[in-house]
Symmetry: C2
Subunit: 443 residues, 2 copies
Amino acid sequence: MKPVTIGLLGLGTVGQGVANILTRNAAEIERRTGRSIRLTRAAVRNKAKAEALNLGIDITTDAQSLVSDPDIDIVCEAMGGDDPALSLLHSAIANGKHVITANKALIAVHGNELFRAASEKGVTIAFESAVAGGIPIIKALREGLTANRIEWLVGIINGTGNFILSEMAEKGRTFDDVLAEAQELGYAEADPTFDVEGIDAAHKLAIMASVAFGMPLQFDAVYTEGISQITREDVEFAEELGYRIKHLGVARRRKEGVELRVHPTLIPERRLLANVNGVMNAIVVHGDAVGPTLYYGAGAGSEPTGSAMVADIIDAVRCLDADPAHRVPTLAFQPDALTPHVMLDTANYQSAYYLRLHALDQPGVLATVTDIFGKLGISIEAILQKEPEMVGELSDDSIEVPNVPIILLTRRVREGLIETAIERIEALSTITQPVTRIRVESL
Amino acid sequence: MKPVTIGLLGLGTVGQGVANILTRNAAEIERRTGRSIRLTRAAVRNKAKAEALNLGIDITTDAQSLVSDPDIDIVCEAMGGDDPALSLLHSAIANGKHVITANKALIAVHGNELFRAASEKGVTIAFESAVAGGIPIIKALREGLTANRIEWLVGIINGTGNFILSEMAEKGRTFDDVLAEAQELGYAEADPTFDVEGIDAAHKLAIMASVAFGMPLQFDAVYTEGISQITREDVEFAEELGYRIKHLGVARRRKEGVELRVHPTLIPERRLLANVNGVMNAIVVHGDAVGPTLYYGAGAGSEPTGSAMVADIIDAVRCLDADPAHRVPTLAFQPDALTPHVMLDTANYQSAYYLRLHALDQPGVLATVTDIFGKLGISIEAILQKEPEMVGELSDDSIEVPNVPIILLTRRVREGLIETAIERIEALSTITQPVTRIRVESL
């Protein structure tokens, strides 16, 4: 049988991973598929640099010629960015190519139109490599857990952010200090906004939620909060309460609607997810039949991401000329069964909360604060009242009243109620600083 | 389109899980598959008991009539045991039914012949539910990690054993004490041999290894060692050295051949796998491209196991009348590419070792022992020499020399060498008891 031919858009970190795997494991892959798979062409910006890799393939700077090349069966997009990636994928589909992409932003934002085009043309579009690198999480959600009504999923899906929070927790370092190191190590970009403000995680969360719940992609509905405001104190107080702080993507389907949110989160230290450290990723998925399952692995990197792309290639090869009905549906559900779900606004999210207050060290403050919660019907799970924070020693004639940090853990409650509580607390004359609020998930 | 019809062999714990899921999630499943899936018949031993479940399906005691029923498309075997399960599956295949089984012993021992029969008949045979309950580990190995040359996998794949070891570690209890409780809770059978001696884990390991490495099933090649000899002391000493003891299945592919082994194992306490407690299961898989990935979830139970069976049903439904070439190969590799691998004998296994010695408290014992290791070229990673074990106080005129436990951790070494070292140590007059040996995997 004639080999299946692959054309690669981009020969950066991910593209080279794909090329290395297809070469090194060619025999093992052929034992699996029964067909030879050959990378024959790559389109790049810098031809000399790509040719220096000595891959023995045709290198072109004309990406358009690659996606219309009649000798290419499958196009893999590993170039990133919005354009020309989007138009190239559309061209590839229009030319009847199966397409595979690692481009999470592109799928999260333009996925619906790309899937429609692929479906009309009867070709596969696959994106395992766009979410959590080498972890086969799309496979698990789309195929492994099909018996389940998936109720929620929670993931550490940005390695940079997890590296920063892990270092802060393990070594008592500050956010800025670790970020600078992460940039030196190449874990974080010069502009770290995408990673530390949760935009990258939001892309991945939007994709996973669509596959899990059977709804069109809705990236705009993801609420996003970064980790740059997390202090050493919060990390330490969380620890004292038996929690770790992780930057989580959370997708939950409730009767009233869907919550899609990315934010720093306290999770109990005994949970496996709390022990996922460094640049690793992990996702917990809760299905009504199976209960919780967890998937862990490298969320980025050349060969881990390449591993996911090549798995998609092998799936596509198996069904290259199959009736599309025999393929797994792109978003796990039949296209005509994808239903737009109600998206909840943040006031209707539900979560438990960690609140850090700074109060004057006066009798009665705690009673006033707990009274606010009581009146709103918010249950308190734990209170920590710390020693006063004093700068230097107080002399006898000092009239300065020291600040006391008060830490509260609430039970699960509607977010709107917490906002009201915070407003009322901040209005108290005994409260000296804005309240710090971090969500808590018990998993 | 006409609904796909399912016939169930057995309506025990697992069978009921399948029935519940297919009923409760019928709409969600149809959104996924685009077809209605209906459980129409079940074959059981006790008809009255099954009818009392009020499932609204035909109940028969004539299993043979079910597997030859022209109105049944897919047969699910959830009865367990060797016979008549084996002959019923053969009949179902001969009648052109797709078959799905949760029967790990049957697949581990008779899988090769069943797969051959299914392949000749062009039907699917699937067994996700036979390994690690609801964790989609066969899906991950067979499809998610296809880009990789899988080098090793290590798993906690027996919930009963893990419950016992977790309780021993967390509460300082003895093996016998926890086993008795596990039997009361229904986690362990009246005869716990299958679970605690590692036979159940060996079945699952044999299946995973075949799928991971692309070789015919070879259950006989699995070396098996149980956990009934693990003492509280070993659990405590392991902890002191920074390790936990887990009952692991280990499959490793080395240049020289394959190791398949089930045994108690020390693993570093910081590894996620060391923190998988209670009846939960988890498997770490190491691929050459992706590195380590981990899969965690419920390894048994009605709906978790049912979840895996129903996922297999949905895969089968998708390719019900597809060209078999479009299906994933049963053992992940093309049948003609399955190569029998060399199976190593235990002397050629490689591992690090924890050794517990009991020596007379005399000067020079440690030197004699370490000399034995030195001469054999075995490197020592750590030594713990504990306080003498004394029963009551020694009086001045006592001539009893107390016993000292000595704990040694070796580096990675060939098992044959360790056996030699142990022989030489046990021959020393200063050594008072047989040496305890537990393998160590650093993962």
